[in-house]
Amino acid sequence: MNIVSPNEIRSFITQTLADKLAARGLSPESLPDDFDLLAEGVIDSMGILEVVQGIQDKFDLSIDLECMAPEELTLIGPLARYVAANAARRP
């Protein structure tokens, strides 16, 4: 049983990026599973840091990035699933 579900993570990401998505005329519900936050210009290095730190703080967990493939960082569905599968409660 995961601490958080992929859907909770995905919702948090789209809320965090709501302004950026809206500026591109995108709604959270319309994003495909393989929506690329990087290639679509929604996020950069500082942006992804804010998102990942935001997830850790919001859900009070730490994410192990060791097994992450680069694609799992920027595609919204794979990112949400990776985080859900590799999160641990903070000590």
């Binding site: 965090t16 990026l17 302004d19 950026k20 690329d36 990087l38 290639a39 679509e40 210009g41 929604v42 996020i43 950069d44 290095s45 500082m46 942006g47 992804i48 840091l49 804010e50 990942v52 730190q53 990035l65 992450m68 680069p70 694609e71 960082l73 920027t74």
Partner: protein
């Protein structure tokens, strides 16, 4: 001077890395300093990135100009598709670095990302000339080389990103035939994309 142009490869870049990494750093110092927290940390990280084949900054695909056997100028360039793939890997490396070094970022608001690249745009990641060897036409020489290379790949355009306060760079690229594109906020200062359509008149 064309015989001084050298295309580096996976097996030939290493001896030049000590000369090239500081040049690569100097081309984006204000950004790297914000990202990595200090110049020393930035150089250390860039040394790793420049040696990693799935980095945008990989020197194994750079072209350089040799001046008395010193690397006087460098350009690192990739196809649009390669750029996105490498940028993902760099983003992950960056995230691991930042999470390990900082308990909390001071970055504040989210920053926008650069305008995305099409597969048939050829991207110039970095172009830099040793300050002591400027005014010798090295940047123009490297750009002409890349233009040929991009045309041979069937690319539609050359693209590079430049800091809006880099007046000499903007002037040079405009003289070369680049046109101003989208502008976006970036740590260390606003950036603007510049695009040179290929196949049209070459003004260089």
């Amino acid at each position: 001077v064309e015989d001084r142009l050298v295309s580096l490869t996976a097996t030939s870049f290493a001896p030049f890395a000590d000369q090239l990494v500081p040049l690569v750093y100097s081309a984006g110092a204000s950004y790297f300093d914000v990202l990595f927290g200090s110049a020393d940390a930035a150089i250390t990280e860039l040394n790793r990135w420049c040696a990693r084949s799935n980095s945008e900054y990989y020197l194994g695909r750079a072209d350089i100009v040799l001046d008395d056997d010193i690397a006087a100028a460098v350009v690192i360039h990739l196809s649009g598709r390669q750029t996105i793939e490498c940028r993902r890997a760099d983003l992950l490396a960056c995230l691991k670095f930042l999470l390990s070094k900082r308990s909390k970022t001071g970055a504040g608001d989210l920053h926008a990302a650069p305008p995305s690249l099409a597969d048939d745009e050829h991207y110039i990641r970095t172009i830099a000339v040793d300050p002591a060897r400027r005014g010798r036409g090295y940047a123009k020489l490297l750009l002409a080389r890349i233009r040929e290379h991009a045309l041979s790949l069937g690319s539609r355009a050359l693209r590079l990103d430049v800091a809006v306060d880099n007046a000499p760079g903007l002037a040079l690229y405009e003289r070369m035939g680049f046109e101003l594109g989208d502008r976006w906020p970036c740590p260390g200062g606003d950036m603007v994309a510049m695009v040179m359509p290929l196949g049209g008149p070459h003004r260089a």
